[in-house]
Each structure stands twice: as C-alpha cells, then as structure tokens.
C-alpha cells in the first residue's frame, strides 16, 4: 500500500492504493469517476486517456503509485460551473460524437494537443490523435471539432 497525493480536477486528493493498482482502477473503482473508459486495457486505444500535468497519458498503463504530486484532469474536470470546455462544445457542434465511448479520451487528447499547439493544422490534429481510436466517425468530424475549438475564444 502506498499513500498517494495528487491534484484531481483542481482538488487535492489522497488515496491509499496497493502498489499494483492502475490509475484507471483508482479513478473508476475508488473515486467513482466513470467518464474514464476502459476498452482495451493494454494501452492501444486511448479510451482511458486522462491529462497528467497537461499531457495525455493512458490511465490503464499508469500505476497510481506513480502519480504522486501530479496534476490530473479527467473528463469530469473539464467543464467549469456548467459551462463546457471549448473542445467539448466543439465536439457537440461538429457532430463529432456518435457512440461516445472514445469521446472522453478523444476530448482530453485534443485538449493536450491544443495545449501544445494552439493552432494546429489538420495533419497535426490527425497525428496528435493517432493514439485514440474511434470506430464510428471516420475522424472527419473529430478533426473538424478540434480545428473549430482552436479557433474558438475561450
């Protein structure tokens, strides 16, 4: 067991987690944050993406013991006081959501991408989201959404 303290969606959080516990397990089973989606649980689909210090990480490959001191954002932490993040709003407006299972991870990966490159080209968006799989949309409207978010005033 290890005591791990981190910032989660802006709030200081402390958990007692076994050394082998994965971040996705801590988030979903211990903290009830179910927006982080399990899909492959082997680091190949991006559905469980969360932000760690602004970068996208796969919570199925991350040990909770290793996030001590980190600043974590899950999909639940994006909207502020009921106002959606521009990326979330753009996903709705562009029709980038179908089954929605990849959406939380896709939105967070987009957020990380825009943090690094506020005005990406379509190619840069595609490359930035290459680790996040979507079987529904053909990605066109997802790329539209990220482009629109990059042009939106926060």
């Amino acid at each position: 067991m290890k005591t791990v303290t981190f910032t989660l969606n802006g709030k200081k959080t402390t958990v007692e987690a076994p050394d082998h516990e994965l971040l996705i397990e801590t988030l979903r089973e211990r903290l009830g944050l179910l927006g982080t989606k399990p899909s492959c649980l082997e680091g190949e689909c991006g559905a469980c993406t969360v932000l760690m210090d602004g970068k996208n990480v796969l919570s199925c490959l991350k040990l909770t013991a290793d996030v001590d001191g980190a600043d974590l954002t899950t999909i639940e932490g994006l909207a502020q006081n009921g106002t959606l993040d521009p990326v979330q709003q753009s996903f709705i407006d562009a029709g980038a959501v179908q089954c929605g299972y990849c959406t939380p991870g896709m939105v967070l990966a987009s957020k990380a991408l825009l943090g690094e490159k506020p005005q990406p080209t379509d190619e840069e968006i595609a490359r930035g989201l290459d680790g996040n799989l979507c079987r529904c949309t053909g990605y066109i409207k997802i790329i539209d959404a990220v482009r629109a978010a990059s042009l939106r005033k926060p």
Partner: protein, 775 residues
Amino acid sequence: MNQDTKKTTSPVGKAVPRIDARPKVTGEAAYVYDMRLSGMLVGKMLRSPHAHAKIVKIDTSRARKLAGVKAVVTATDTPKIKFGSNEYFFPYTVDQLPLEDEKVRYIGDEIAAVAAVDEETANKALSLIDVTYEVLPAVFDPVEAMKPGAPAIHTSMNNIGVMLPVQYGDADTALKESDYVREDVFVLPSAAHAALEPHVAIGQCEVSTRRITLWTSTQAPFKVREALAKTLEIEQADIRVIKLAVGGGFGGKLEMLPMDFAACLLSQKAGGLPVKIACTREEEFCFTRRKHPVIYKLKSGVKKDGTLMAITGEVIADGGAYCSYGPTVIAACIMRIFMVYKIRHFRVIGFRVYTNNPICGAIRGFGGVQSGFAVESHMDLLARGIGMDPVEFRLKNATDPDTVTVNKLVLSTNGLKECIHKAAEASGWKQKFGKSSSEGEVVVRGIGIGVAADVMGSKMYKAHESAGTIIKVEEDGSVYVFTGAADTGQGSDTAMAQIAAQELGVAYERIRIKAADTEITPFDTGSFASRVTFISGNATKNAAADAKRQILEVVGRQLGLEKDGLDIRDEQVVRRSDNGAVMSFDRAVQLCYSFDYGHLLIGRGHYNPKTTPIDFRTGEGNISGSYGFEAQIAEVEVNKKTGQVRVLKMTDVHDIGYPINPQSVQGQIEGSILMGVGYTLHENLRFAEGRVLNPSFSKYRIPRSTDKVDIASIFVETNDPQGPFGAKGMGEASLLPTAAAIANAIHDAIGVRIRELPITPEKVLAALNREPGRE
C-alpha cells in the same frame, strides 16, 4: 445561447446537436460498464481450449470450494435448450447451447461460468474447474469441411449449415447468347467489429419470483429477451432487458451471447446478487462474433452494347462453429444484386459451411460488403472486357424507379442512376478515368466506381417487423418519447426526437427519450438492416400524430372549431387555412389537462413496413418497405515500387430519401467509408488452427485518425413516400461499394486486378509481377 433555452422548431432536416451529445462529452453518459450495484459479483466464462473435442467430464468441485466464489454453473444447471438467431425462417439453424457439456466446436466455446467477489478470485476459480476432453479431428477450411469424410461438426450433411440456391430465368442460355463471358474468383477475409465498448452484461435475479433483469450492451434488447426466455425456460414477462448507452455495435451486439445467459443464471444461483461479466479486448476479438470470410465465384455474360445477360456464381462462406445470423448473411450476400442490376437470368448458390473456427455472424453490411467487393469488381471487369466505360456500363444496367425485380422486390423510389450521374460529375470521372500515365512513373493515380443498394429492414426473427412508440405529453408541456429503438451510437434517439418534435409541432429541446427497455418501451426488433429511422421513425411519427390529434380535438371543441382545420406548428396551434395562431402549445396542453377535459395525453403509434412474405428457399419476395441506393467513386494513388495504396478521395452519392439530420447522415457515411477503407487495405482477422492470431488493436489495425480520407458526400433526395418525412435508412450502404471502388481505381492506376482483400502492398507488387500487361 444557453442549451436549455434554445428552441429548435421544425427540426427535421436540420443538423441539431445530438440529444445525447452533452452527457457524452462530459463523461456522464452511463454504459453498462459503469453500472454499480451493491453486492455486485464478477462473472467469468470458462471456454474451450480445443477447436473440436468431446467433453468427457466437467468437475467444478475445487472451484466451488474456493473462498469468495459465489456460484459456478455448467450445462447441468440449465435446461439445455439451443438458441439461434434466424429461428423463425431457418429453424434448422438453431444450433448453439449457452453452455456446452457434450462437445466443443471452437476455441472459445463456453462450458462453465463462475461468479466471485472479485476478478482475481473469478479467474482463479476458472483455473480450478477440471474438464477432461477427448480431442477430435478439426477442420478449419470451408472447402475442406464440405468434402466427404471431413470431421462432422454438427449433424448437417457435409457441414453445410445453410444452402441457398437462387435461380431465375435461364442463365445457361443467356450466357450462350452473350458476346462476352468472364469468370472471376474473389476472396474475402474475416474482420472484427472492434466497437470501442466491449460486450458487457449485468444480470440480476429476484430469487423469490425468478424474475430477471439484464443490463446488456446490445443492439436488440427484445431479441435478447426472447433468447433468454427460451434458454432459461422462463416467461418473457419475467425478464427485463435494459439497454443503456452502447459504445458501438456494428452488428456485433445483435444477439444474446452465452455471457448474457450466464450473468442471469449465476445471479440466480448466487442468491440474487448481481453478476457482471465483461469481455476483455482479447475475448472481444476471439469469442464474440466476426465477419464471414467468403470465396465468391462469379461467371457472367454481357452483350457488346453492355446489356447484362446473366449472372451466375457460387458463394462459400466459412461460418465457424455455429450458425448465428449466417442464413441472412448468405441471403444478403446474394440478394443485393437484384436491387442494383436489372437481371432476368440468374443462378447463384450460397453455402454457409460449419468449421471449427470462431463463430461468424452479423456485421455492418450483412454480407453486402463481401458481395459488394466481388460483384462490383466483376462488373468493372465485364465493362473493361467489352471496352465500355464502367460508369456507362452501370448506367445501362442499373435498376429503375417503380419497378419490380425478377425476385419480386418492389423498388419504388430509386435514385441509383442519379447517384451514378452525380458521382461521375462531382469526381470529374470523364477527365480522369483511363488517364493514368503510368509509363516510367512510380506513383500513379487511378479512379474507380462501385454502386450499391440496401434494405431498410429485414425480417430476421419474426413474421412481422413492427416497431412501436408511445408519447406522453405532460401537464407542464414536457414530451416523453418511449421507443424500443436501440441507439448504439448511430443517433436513433436524436432522430426519434426530431421526428416526434416535427410531427407534434414543438421544439426539439422539449423531447425526452426513454429508449429500449423491454418492460417499459414498446416492442422493436432492434438496430440492424438500416431499419430504425425508417421503421421506428414511422412509428414515432404515428405516435406524435396521435398525440397531436388528441390536443387538436380538445382545442377544437373548446373553441368550436373543426379539428381538421387545425394544426400545431412551431409551438402554436394554428389554423391550417392561413397559419394564424389560435393558442400556444403550452396553453393547449393546459386546456387538455383542465377541469373540463382532464384529458391525459398519450399518443401511440406503430409501423410495419409494406413487405411480402419471403421464400428464403428461392429468394422471392419483397423484403423491405423501401430501398436505398448509392454510388461511390474512389481516387487512389499507387506506388508501383512499394505497392502502397493511398486513398486520395471518396465521392459518395447516396439516395437517403431525405436527411432527418444531415450531420448524422454524414457521420454514418463517413464512418462507413473509413470502415470500408480499413477492410479494403489492412483489416484481416487471421487464424491458425482455429485460434485468432491478432486479437488486439496493435495487431488488428482499425483505421486511425491519420488514415482518414477526404470524402465528398452528396445526398440524392428522393423523398420516399413510405419514409418518415421522406427519409430512408442509410447506416450501412456506404460501406458496401468501398472495397470495389478502391480495387477498380487501383486497376485504373496500374492495370492490374486484385481479387483478394485486404489489398496489401505485397499483393499489389505480386499482381504487378503476375500481370505485367493490362487486362
């Protein structure tokens, strides 16, 4: 504008935001995976490690003794009743037991299930179940399986699970009268649905009444209820199947799986504690359902002027260990040809063969993808054989509106020719086709066409194909739509809300959807065969019309006006004659609920498409209420040194009747096309001795964001009189011609023909070496 105060009246035809988009972007949408019930146990399935074996003995005693194990079930705990998915029309294909205890037929066949306090204990319990097998000879190749002396997997002769001979006219004579006859063989691999949400089920039994609730990731909750009732031998009334948000289906979530059955049975044995069984990604690839690999032989003849004289052929599909939706897949593999081409002389025989491979079933396109590649490649070769432009060839032979095909399909609105014309025009076909300047150049371009048609509904498990909707309008003006239609991500909840709002004359934002709960919502056969917008949409439209009629009756009586002279438009009761406002919708609803009337507003509607009985032995009958059409043109770039193919652009022209939500329609088209591109260029679920070789996203590559292709999407609006507001179903057709359009474009680019998917660089290079000259 604030989401809550926005009012979109007359929403049909508008790209309103999806009704479920907001909870999905915030992570609040609840999938079965996210359900938390107190005392919930973890269930796991014990599966056969052998492709074909007799079960000599199953000993669960060690597993039962393990601390933390709450239930263990095998076939002896079950009534041993088989299930199948095409039971109504193909009773002989009902061939799978939820838990086997005599014989296993593929690596993954379910033998037992356990429920325990946690996953670790459940896995440990599986390892403590001792099964003694007597391994039997197995067969993995469908052609081998059909030979006399091959291992018998079931009792059917030569392992042929389904045989479908479709014959019209006199094909042999017509071939003799043809100016040009050619024969081609196409080979198509298996593929995985690869929905991002794996299958997951939670079963809970109320032990005192034996009543069961199942939350499952499904496209067809009523179908699951029926199969559960049958295999558990309890009344349908004692089973409630609930669908929550579903993370993609694509045909893979269209039937009850043994894990659904086991979750319910385990809960019963565990004193009513809920049991959750979820597939790992590996289980999802190996043990759910998959696409039928097909060998499609075609021999057809044409006249010099391009008239298609006869189509003959043979379809051999590896069905795997059980039949699943095999019969309808084979039927669809053959019957789609009639929707697309005017043909009188026809003979194609389909065989679905049992092997000891994993089970094949429904997957988006229902055999139409396999048939699309084979038939549309073959048609291109026929056109080339007589020196005719492939676009002209298709225009010459395409079906027309208001015709009845030789097998009695009633094609009423039919935009196929318009689709072909528009696709050719939009893609610049005339300037591009046959212009590949390949001499000396390494990277060359090509253009190719494929066409397709699709049903909107198909009778697969009942005599009727009806869907129903109930709409209640509450005193405060809120509108609830209860529909059996199962939204699995395609957007049917949104479409139902738009249709209800349009017909009732209110804003889209008023509508709340309650969908797909077998105990609460009306019956619906499920999300398949591109049927939901068309069939469930009509049911919803009828229910809204019924609610509206009730409101107008009260208003008419109150004001002494003829109800037929009234309507509701843009949230106002208006006079039809001059559109003049009579009173607001809210006021009208209050009037209904007032002292004088006390009229609770409950609208109901159902819809059964106008079809005729199908004789599946001959393929005769009108299977769908209407048909959708599609032409697709691919432009590709081929590197002759590396064999790499890049899809530059897809032009998709689709007769969708009328788009209820243009953005959703585009989303379906774009998603279908990229799925098709994946299947054309790299997807291939591979096997060795019945074992899946690539059961992960790193080894089975689905298209990624960097694989996206440019798509020009054009709608042809034929405003189908049968469809709700003219709409047709359209969720699958765009996938059907993609592979052939790409293969035809490759032929245009480099002069060689690839007849086997996926079209890998190795195959392109091999074809270039094999066929140095142009065909």
